[in-house]
Symmetry: D2
């Protein structure tokens, strides 16, 4: 297995947390990132309830869940602090959430682009050593996800290879969600 | 049964329709009004899918479904034309939708107040003669709703009593939804 | 619409009722027949809960629900009085249930054969006048079924045509259930 | 943690497998036992679909799923070879299933009694070393079960303590299922 280090998050604002989080500071824990949009039906019905369940099932000592609001459409409606705050309040989401940093050129937000995500919801797993271990667009079975997370939790932290590359390959997508029309 | 005429809708803008609708112009058909907010979880998971299903099950000759966006919280996020348009697009809702007219004094929107709704989602049924026949806050069983709608469809239109009053009484609420904190 | 009278039920034993029922004696009411087998997954997950819900939604004055245990496979396991009694007890079904009369030649039970059912679950609606109005194999949407039942409830009883034939045509089947391999 | 060895299964017949299985012969693998009855609604809707999903998610090299038909009521209907075979066929269950050995005195079947199960469905986990690690009556969340199974998979086999006792304590039950009226 040729592992790549997970690129650092590029975020604009944080919610449900006192201080901004970073993958670097979370080294030593497993990190699950749930990229979503508040107007994405598959995120609301599947991705975010699953993220909340993961947040409440595993020890905070072992795993951190991060919601990443990766807005690539309807920026005026979804892209404001007020919008996320209202959404998190109404849906009673309690895990840390960040606004993905908007693109300078008006396209995909920066973390979404760096991770070459195909749309929302996308679930990302980063191991204790900071390596990218999973990137999945769409719905995931809970039984298998529970097993995969526990497998990562039981690994020891390893030093990152200095020459590891951040290049990603496509997952292939087969489930409902808001897919990016074309990567820019 | 002491029937009351359904008060006319007070709306700001319409979507999914060429011309604004009115209960007066719809006299002769059954009308189902689904009052919702785009950030109300019970509306997104139950009320609006049910409204879409009703819209697609019954003849347009017999029944009209109207979505009423009755924003009583998070006005800056939910209360704009762009917000509704983005929401209707992402959730693929095809029935006519109106923005409930905002209150002059900043409280509940005007139709919601006139109908003394307890929150969202609220389902309203108006018969062919323009009488208010049901106002229900929360989740409804589909089997019983199908029967109730068909019962109204099979009634003939009757002339409205001139002295009928618009006073409403409380339904009593027992299911999840965004309940109004206190009527103003 | 060329209506046919619903053939009389041919049954062996009755449960959840003091006296055997017959379509003739139920003339004047709408009758819903839910043909099932206790080891049919689609009957257990969909057909029978729906029948119980119909039984509890409509007035007993207007409608009678009858469960028809139409065993066409695993006769030794499903076909005994003890088996049905244990099943009705564990699944807490409270509407009248009859054992479809076994075939003399060992094939499909008699009512199932007479109604030319394609398998289980099959839902049959008989109107107040005793005419066969619906025969559907598989899953049905609750909203539409509620409307269809109410439509039949609001009809008046009509005298049966003397020359009406009992010939049935196939429904075409498109949903999961225990389909009869070939009609004998 | 004071671990107890899992008592050996006491079974009458096996299905979906060429040879009878035993915990002793499965030493080195994790074993999940799903105790059920074919007429138990919670087993049919939750326990058995979950067992099939576990059977299809994890490697057969790491884990074996065993269905245990622990009949404690309706023996004449549920307790025959024909009954289990018909049930497994209709519900398309593919993992190994055993008939729990009937009691000599007519009460609870022998494995169910030895494990002091409170009813069906009950899920039991045995680790690679043969120790009893979980016994749960009722519904389990899939995410947590996936994690728990993976945690056991990643353990090494350990020698069983010679003095380990088979005494079990009650789990406390909080979910729907067929609970034993009183332990005999």
């Amino acid at each position: 297995m040729n592992l790549k280090p997970a690129p650092e998050l590029r975020t604009a604002e944080w919610f449900n947390v006192d201080e901004p989080l970073s993958l670097k500071a979370l080294r030593g824990k497993v990190v699950m990132i749930e990229a979503f949009q508040m107007l994405c039906p598959g995120c609301v019905s599947h991705g975010l309830p699953l993220a909340e369940q993961v947040h409440n099932t595993f020890s905070r000592h072992d795993l951190t869940v991060i919601g990443l609001h990766s807005v690539f459409e309807h920026h005026a409606v979804q892209g404001t602090r007020e919008a996320i705050e209202a959404f998190l309040h109404e849906y009673k989401l309690s895990f840390p959430v960040a606004m993905d940093a908007p693109s300078q050129q008006g396209g995909l937000p920066q973390t979404m682009r760096t991770y070459q995500m195909q749309g929302t919801p996308t679930l990302v797993l980063v191991d204790r050593s900071g390596y990218l271990r999973k990137r999945h667009f769409g719905v995931l079975p809970e039984l298998a996800l529970g097993a995969e997370i526990m497998s990562l939790i039981q690994e020891s932290e390893q030093p990152l290879s200095a020459t590891a590359s951040a290049a990603l390959t496509s997952d292939g997508c087969d489930s409902s969600g808001c897919r990016v029309a074309q990567q820019d």
